[in-house]
Symmetry: C2
Subunit: 311 residues, 2 copies
């Protein structure tokens, strides 16, 4: 469930666009953009462009700065375009991150992921998978390319016989420490989330440990860490996001990029569950944690997106 809160009476896109054009007031920007859904933000952006001949994001970019700007711009972007942008950043030399690519590939629905791939074509004149393949190698490439190329079946049907046989395959490969074996990769990257879940439940029951515990063997192995995170994203995404938030906030010097990314990409999706998970795990609300760790307009923007305060 989303934390995004949209007022009962939403002004016309032209009205919002006009306010954004002439206001230099950060609170106004938050009041409007942090309280419109993706379709509404898209209308505002189009109306703005028609009326003033300029991309709203460019205008915001000129007026705002640092973390607040990044949060406003990221959230205002269409979700597929935003993911394409984040993924593209993640394949570049100085901002490369296999984690963000994995996160986008594993936590979006099949159709959402395909929309990201279309947005990537439109924006970068290349395919997402070709950039991911080009900028990775070895085990990372073996895992990430099929992850971003997947179009998983989304039905709830489960084949229990298959779940058992593939749990066994996973167990055998893990026992032999063949963590990047092609069968492990195949199962994790191609099966539907429902089927994978059944397989991992059976794994837990039959072999006495959750798979991610067996994958802890070598806690310094970065590939193994990424594989565990992918499994988490595919099965319990709210736990994955809770941990990203926890690490971002608890870090000496907050990791604003991670914080901004999770809040802007999940506010319209499952932030309610992530907040529950956060409170359960940290004995403090996410609102309090964010308020304690950020300040000014940036803080206000994040709190608005996670549903704190009035609309």
């Amino acid at each position: 469930m989303a934390t995004l809160r949209v007022p009962a009476d939403v002004p016309a896109p032209s009205e919002d666009a006009e306010q954004l054009r002439w206001g230099t007031n950060e609170q106004l920007i938050i009041d409007i953009l942090a309280h419109r859904n993706a379709a509404q933000r898209d209308s505002i952006r189009r109306t703005y462009h028609e009326a003033y001949g300029k991309d709203l994001l460019k205008s915001l970019d000129e007026e705002l700065s640092s973390d607040f700007e990044r949060a406003v711009v990221l959230f205002t972007l269409d979700p597929a375009e935003r993911d394409a942008y984040l993924a593209n950043e993640s394949t570049k030399r100085f901002t490369s991150s296999n984690w963000i690519i994995m996160e986008i590939a594993c936590t979006r629905s099949s159709h959402e992921l395909f929309s990201v791939r279309k947005a990537y074509h439109a924006r970068y004149k290349k395919s997402l998978e070709e950039d991911v393949a080009h900028h990775t190698k070895g085990d990372y490439r073996k895992l990430l390319v099929p992850l971003v190329s997947a179009f998983r079946y989304e039905g709830e049907e489960v084949n229990m016989r298959l779940a058992k046989s593939e749990a066994k395959i996973l167990r055998d490969k893990i026992s032999d420490k063949h963590y990047s074996d092609e069968e492990v990769i195949r199962i994790v990257t191609t099966r539907s989330k429902a089927q994978l879940n059944a397989t991992l439940n059976h794994y837990n029951t039959a072999f006495g440990n959750p798979i991610n515990k067996d994958l802890m063997a070598d806690s310094d192995d970065e590939f193994l860490e990424l594989l565990r995170a992918a499994i988490k994203c595919l099965t319990v995404p709210e736990k994955y996001f809770e941990k990203v938030l926890r690490k971002a906030i608890n870090k000496l010097g907050t990791d604003e990029w991670a914080l901004t990314r999770v809040v802007t990409t999940r506010a319209e999706v499952d932030m309610v569950r992530i907040k529950e998970e956060y409170q359960r795990r940290n004995s403090v609300t996410l609102e309090k944690a964010i308020a304690g760790d950020t300040s000014g307009d940036y803080e206000k923007m994040l709190l608005a997106l996670i549903g704190a305060g009035d609309v």
Copy 2:
């Protein structure tokens, strides 16, 4: 260019459906179904279902037999559904064919291939890539899974610097006989067709041989044969299809499955170019070759689809 010929005055779908319902005449079936485009056939099928409560394909299946039936049914299917069906057949034990999977992945446009993946979900409650991955292994899996999962960029933009560097990579790997190296697979499976074409042109110019000649080294190696065919499909599909037709027709005992597949899948796409290529290579028209090798209603159906005779 398509060879499919649609009459100037097309009857209403309800009229076609009615004729198909009451006619047991094969010529009538050819006159209607071999002369309607995909959208029209779809309308007929839907109208038929609404009027008579039965799938037209089921009815045809009961009335017709053998090669003629397969040609009529395959052609009548919606193109994406037809490809999903052919791909699914190709992952089954007794009809498995890595070639057909490769052919579908490499000769369809990016959006067409994605439509096949959607049709596969709807029809088989699984993803195309999960079945392909499950039913292949080793080098075949390494090549085929990314091929069917690709969503290649389709613009004409070419990066010449990249073309040169990747031509060099291909050359080095081929010289070392590392034909299934992950870099070879990456380049062939992720680059846009325009980019790949530039790379292979540079390969030819810089190293004095077309890449497929260098990949002939071991002519008994089936994986190498598949890789060559994939490269052909991606760059000169009409030459690939000409060869499939030539082998199907010249075989002792025609290979009707291959003949039917190529004619039904290409009639609405590029059969004009395939026919030109066929005549150039065999000094006989494809019409003559098919007429000499097939007979009866099956012959009539194929000839109608490749544009021989009257509408």
